[in-house]
């Protein structure tokens, strides 16, 4: 019993709270306002989305969320793709509460696993903007270039694999690869 409590304490000391405030998505494959409106309406249809501020000229969408809702980055990407387009750039404005990060390593924040790439080892505190590097969250060109930032297989698959065993991550657990 004492061992169990110790393990839980250790686990909690490595997890801290981080809150996603807003997300900014830039879509690729479109120029006109009608396509932009298709993406706009698609993102708005998600139940955790509160408001979408569209910039037609840049093909970008600033998304704010309903308080307390479960924000799903993968669902946002899927909405853009179902509308017929792709995500070229995906950033999130996140409030960190003293989260220590190490380059090319996993960090568990709440229920979400992050893998920071191309960053300096640091402690994140306050509002920071993180940019997703996963496949489907950057252009195909950029994804190919980003392979140099890690040797771990999880960047290619987006989920924990043999490469992540050292961090006790269950196989198949979704990992978001990000940079600052």
């Amino acid at each position: 019993m004492k061992n169990l409590i110790l393990i839980m304490l250790v686990l909690f000391s490595f997890t801290s709270v981080a809150q996603v405030k807003t997300v900014s998505i830039q879509a690729s494959g479109l120029t006109c306002s009608m396509c932009s409106n298709a993406i706009n309406k698609a993102i708005k249809s998600l139940d955790f989305v509160d408001k979408v501020d569209a910039n037609i000229k840049n093909s970008s969408f600033d998304v704010s969320f309903k308080p307390g809702s479960n924000i799903d980055f993968d669902k946002l990407k899927k909405k853009v793709e179902d509308a017929g387009f792709f995500v070229a750039r995906f950033t999130a404005s996140v409030n960190f509460d003293k989260v220590a990060i190490v380059n090319d390593d996993h960090v568990v924040i709440g229920n979400t696993v992050f893998h920071f790439l191309n960053v300096k080892d640091q402690t994140l505190n306050g509002d920071k903007t993180i940019r997703l590097l996963d496949k489907g969250f950057v252009t195909a060109k950029e994804y190919k270039k980003n392979i140099i930032y890690t040797k771990m297989e999880c960047y290619k698959t987006g989920v924990a694999g043999a490469c992540c065993a050292k961090d006790n991550l269950p196989a198949g657990k979704r990992i978001f690869h990000v940079t600052i």
Binding site: Q26, S28, G29, L30, T31, C32, S33, M34, C35, S36, N37, A38, N40, K41, A42, S45, L46, D47, A54, I56, K57, S59, E81, D82, A83, G84, F85, F86, A88, T139, A140, K141
Partner: protein, 298 residues
């Protein structure tokens, strides 16, 4: 000249960029997944037999975005050609599958394959009678019946003929310009109560080259701005079993109002060719309505 203009203001949220919403062809892009679209097209034909814009065809069309890569259309055709009233002619089923998409900011290159089957109940060769008067040499007249035979050597799967067609489409969008090319094959089938005549071509190769340009607005500031797109399309056919060919040019203008309404006005006419056709020229008017996120889960 009869114009049937539908005054249903429509919401059109097609998954394609507006300057690639070609008026006489389909782009390689697709509708948004789980969306439904309804179109009404009206064509007014300059008929070869009387050289007047005397016939029209109504083409309601129902579209479903099955998923992000696949869409299906159902067409219904009705016209008043060679008769006094509008008559139901038949239906067609069209499917398009987008198999390639290379997207970047304000640009893309996409490819798709399509297939179409049309089931039509029109005559293949039409014979009409005209009364002709001739002096009989002694002050009276002889009245003859003159037979006009109209043959349609064009394999037209949009209302005139039953048949199958398939092909591939490639579309390139760069900023305000979208260019598309397609190559396909059509095969004529017997019309429901009318067999193929031996004299008509039974299969043909088709090709098209289209360009669309976003003329207005010069800069986007709001979804409420009216978009004006200009199109120029070339559509050609070469029969494979007879020496029939033609090339048409089809300019068009498209208005997109409030990022919600799409209205197309186009004119298609033959540039050159040797094919006996029902009509060498026609006007087209289209309005379209899409329902987004119809079957989607949140």
């Amino acid at each position: 000249m009869k114009f049937i203009l539908s005054v249903i203001l429509v919401i059109s949220f097609s998954g394609a960029g507006a300057q690639e919403l070609y008026v006489f062809t389909e782009p390689a892009s697709n509708m948004a997944a789980k969306s439904i679209g309804v179109r009404l097209v009206s064509r007014v034909f300059k008929m070869e037999h009387d050289n007047k814009f005397s016939s029209y065809r109504l083409e309601p069309e129902f579209m479903i975005g099955v998923n992000r890569n696949l869409m299906v259309h159902v067409n219904v055709y009705a016209s008043d050609m060679f008769q006094t009233n509008l008559k139901f002619e038949g239906t067609a089923l069209y499917a398009k599958y987008r198999f390639l998409s290379r997207d970047d900011i304000h640009s893309h290159f996409r490819m798709a394959v399509y297939g179409k089957i049309a089931v039509i109940d029109n005559p293949t060769v039409l014979t009409t009678t005209e009364k002709h008067e001739e002096p009989d040499g002694s002050g009276g007249v002889i009245i003859h019946d003159l037979l006009h035979t109209t043959v349609n050597n064009e394999i037209d799967l949009d209302g005139s003929n039953s048949g199958l067609s398939t092909g591939v489409i490639a579309t390139k969008l760069v900023n305000k310009l979208a260019v598309s090319a397609s190559a396909g094959y059509s095969y004529r089938l017997d019309n429901l109560r009318n067999k193929r005549e031996v004299i008509v071509p039974w299969h043909a190769a088709n090709y098209s080259l289209s360009a669309g340009y976003l003329l207005f607005p010069k800069e986007y500031t709001s979804y409420k701005q009216t978009n004006i797109n200009l199109y120029a399309e070339f559509l050609g056919t070469n029969a494979l079993d007879k020496k029939n060919y033609f090339l048409d040019i089809a300019p068009a203008i498209q208005f997109i109002i409030n990022s919600i309404a799409r209205i197309d006005i186009g004119y298609r006419t033959q540039l050159y060719g040797n094919t006996a056709r029902m009509a060498n020229s026609a006007f087209l008017v289209r309005v379209e309505y899409n329902f987004l996120n119809v079957f989607s889960k949140k």
